[in-house]
Symmetry: C2
């Protein structure tokens, strides 16, 4: 099966674990059999490979997430990079063109487009495969997944199937309804719209060419910024008459808030944390090195990261966004394709960062105009290049770089260093990349 | 008036703000008129000086607190240092000898001994002065403060006065009672024992010589470790017949738990923090640089420091101690007489610290056997001495010290530096002090 996973934008609803460059799908929160934790994107990726080891997986996402994707899934996975955010129709059109023009997949093949963050079991991916097979048959132009509703939710769109068969033509769509309307829809046999589309690649390419003037993938990529923001539902689904829906009645959860996310946690505490025996329904997700102690709380989620600390009643946690929007804060940590960094001290005129480079990786060769930097290697081995000069480095070595000095470090083994930045107006914008 | 403030031990009940070297009395939590915050010890010191600007103030405390006391009160304040903890009788005896032998105060003068951490208004210190004046009269050997009880507390000892006069002889003492017994005592006119003693210096010196074989202050100090732990109540008060009690009916609070401490806070939030409008009775005390967001909580205290994060129902917060005792953790920050330090990163084989030196101050001249160190000056000016060699330093300078190298830094202006320690088995014990 060909599958495109739509990896969405910044997930402030799971602050402080998500931030402008780490979306919720990258938070390592799901316990694996070996006791370690994996993220939503890792979980979904491994589930797909388990169900279909030959699945061709492409992640459709923005530039800002590419480092995190390669860091978590390795460099093998296909990534269709959106140069900027333009809603789901341009994103799906771009990734469809990517599959045909970059990956060389035949336009007669089918693809399943699916959000990257459903919390589901393996049967969900079996269903995606069935969806792909159904699209192959060509009975309809689009095949959707219809989730059997478990309660009259106001959060989802509804799909009304023409028959009660496992696969049926769609007779109507209903937008997010009131609870009463939802009850009515469900009594009439309506299903939740799972946000999954299966289609033959040629179908969406044709729709895209009708709506956008472009030659091929590269051309679409180059003019992406000029495209109008429009959803796939609005641009394609609503105008299409030949749509089928396939029923799915397995476990399906949309993990968008702390409330729903904690329901999917196996343990109550991830990271250093203690709950006293008067706590009920309390979850701790702690990415800091120091302990969290919770006493006498009920239905509360506590999360701590280098970005901040959330303590919220679980119900209330869905109203987090405006508060987080009001925090003006620099990025305090990030995963990069080469490793990660963490800000450990901020002062006026200086900033101190811990940088971890994965074995075999290096940072960009770059310089700064307005700051000096000092590196102290605290573990590992590698080499630095300063203004073209190579030098081996290991634990305890100190490297000083004046403003303007071009520099990089290449890790032989995993290499950690403390970087002290000194200057006025330290900014992530003050970074000039150079060719080596 | 002469006054000795008893500054007690490690206050784990206010974790994570208090730790083994920062007791609760040093937490800056009380809002001043200028909007900044002061600690309990600063608040009490300034209140005494306001009521009696000539008051001779001595803090009786342990070695570990001396740096914090000088950091918060300056170097003028007298400090009677207990070489180790031996309960209140040896502590009061030692500070009494200190007043006579070190400060040269006549043994015929009176002194008031008082805990350092009552949360009170200025009238309390007027009352201490009256207590001192009463002791001067010599009508009794000890004068106590009796607090008019406001409820039948089980937490306090009770003093039964012989008469209803403002000053009266004591007819009986009652240990911490049950609520029912407390009601009975109060109906009989009993007062809370405020833990304050006024006496002529000679009186306690005589009692001390009866119980301990010592010549003078220095001798008592030298043999302090050999003394038996015994409380002043048990060693002196219970055996004395001529005791007066003076009534006090002003505000008096004992701030020993998060619950009582938050009652004394003027603002609900100290440090970076946001309460949403569904929070009720929530207090945040945040010493971290990142925000705390609290949503939908009731009667909860949240406190964050480099040591950890507490989230507790206020009632439950008094049961904190065993949990904190179970945390095995190094000291993450400390105030010193010369400034302060904060651990900003810990790895196997390395530790990174931010050191702030106050202007004109220096750290001890010292060396380490098992670690190398690197300093990066991030602000201020001063000089370093490395193996006897002086060198001026300022922002951006990098100083490297191999294990064994004797080193110190002396600040001209306030000087901040990042110290990276590298070695196996980094430990605070690995520090050898040297003469300059």
């Amino acid at each position: 099966m060909n599958i495109v996973l739509l990896s969405g934008g910044s997930g402030k609803r799971l602050w402080p674990l998500s931030n402008d460059i780490r979306s919720k799908q990258f938070i390592k929160i799901f316990k694996k059999e070996d006791g370690s934790f994996e993220s939503m994107v890792q979980r979904v990726y491994h589930q797909i490979k388990k169900v279909d080891k030959d699945a061709d997986i492409t992640i459709a996402t923005s530039k800002t997430q590419v480092s995190a994707i390669h860091n978590q899934l390795g460099n093998e996975v296909g990534v269709s990079i959106e140069p900027c955010r333009r809603d789901t129709f341009p994103a799906i059109a771009l990734s469809t063109a990517y599959l045909v023009d970059v990956k060389g997949i035949s336009p007669d093949e089918s693809v399943v487009v699916c959000p990257v963050d459903p919390y589901v079991e393996d049967d969900y991916f079996e269903a995606l495969k069935a969806l792909s097979d159904q699209a192959d048959k060509g009975e309809a132009n689009l095949v959707l997944m219809g989730i059997e509703p478990t309660y009259p939710s106001e959060k989802y769109g509804y799909v009304v199937p023409a028959t009660k068969d496992s696969v049926s033509l769609v007779s109507a769509f209903k937008e997010k309804p009131t609870v009463d309307a939802a009850k009515e829809y469900i009594s009439q046999g309506a299903l939740w719209n799972g946000g999954v589309f299966a289609y033959k690649l040629r179908y969406v390419l044709d729709r895209a060419h009708e709506l956008i003037d472009f030659k091929d993938y590269q051309d679409l990529y180059d003019k992406y910024e000029t495209l109008t923001k429009i959803s796939f539902d609005y641009a394609v689904v609503e105008k299409e008459e030949k749509i089928q829906v396939m029923r799915f009645n397995g476990q399906w959860k949309d993990i968008g808030t702390w409330n729903t996310l904690t329901e999917a946690m196996e343990d109550n505490v991830i990271g250093k944390g203690v709950l006293n025996d008067t706590c009920k329904g309390v979850h701790i997700v702690n990415e800091m090195d120091v302990p969290v102690l919770a006493m006498g709380l009920t239905d509360v989620v506590i999360s701590a990261s280098p970005e901040g600390i959330l303590v919220s009643d679980k119900e209330q946690s869905s109203y987090i966004k405006p508060y987080v929007d009001s925090f003006v804060q620099q990025i305090m940590f990030a995963e990069k394709s080469w490793g990660n960094f963490k800000v450990i001290d901020v002062e006026t005129g200086s900033m101190t960062i811990k940088v971890t480079l994965n074995a075999g990786h290096s940072m960009n060769y770059h310089s700064h105009n307005h700051r000096d930097e000092v590196w102290v290697v605290i573990s590992g081995t590698g080499k630095t290049i300063l203004d073209g000069k190579e030098q081996k480095v290991s634990k305890g070595d100190v490297i000083t770089m004046k403003a303007g000095c071009k520099h990089t470090v290449i890790a032989d083994s995993e290499l950690k260093l403390i970087e002290v930045q000194i200057g006025e107006g330290i900014s992530v914008q003050d970074k000039i990349k150079h060719e080596l």
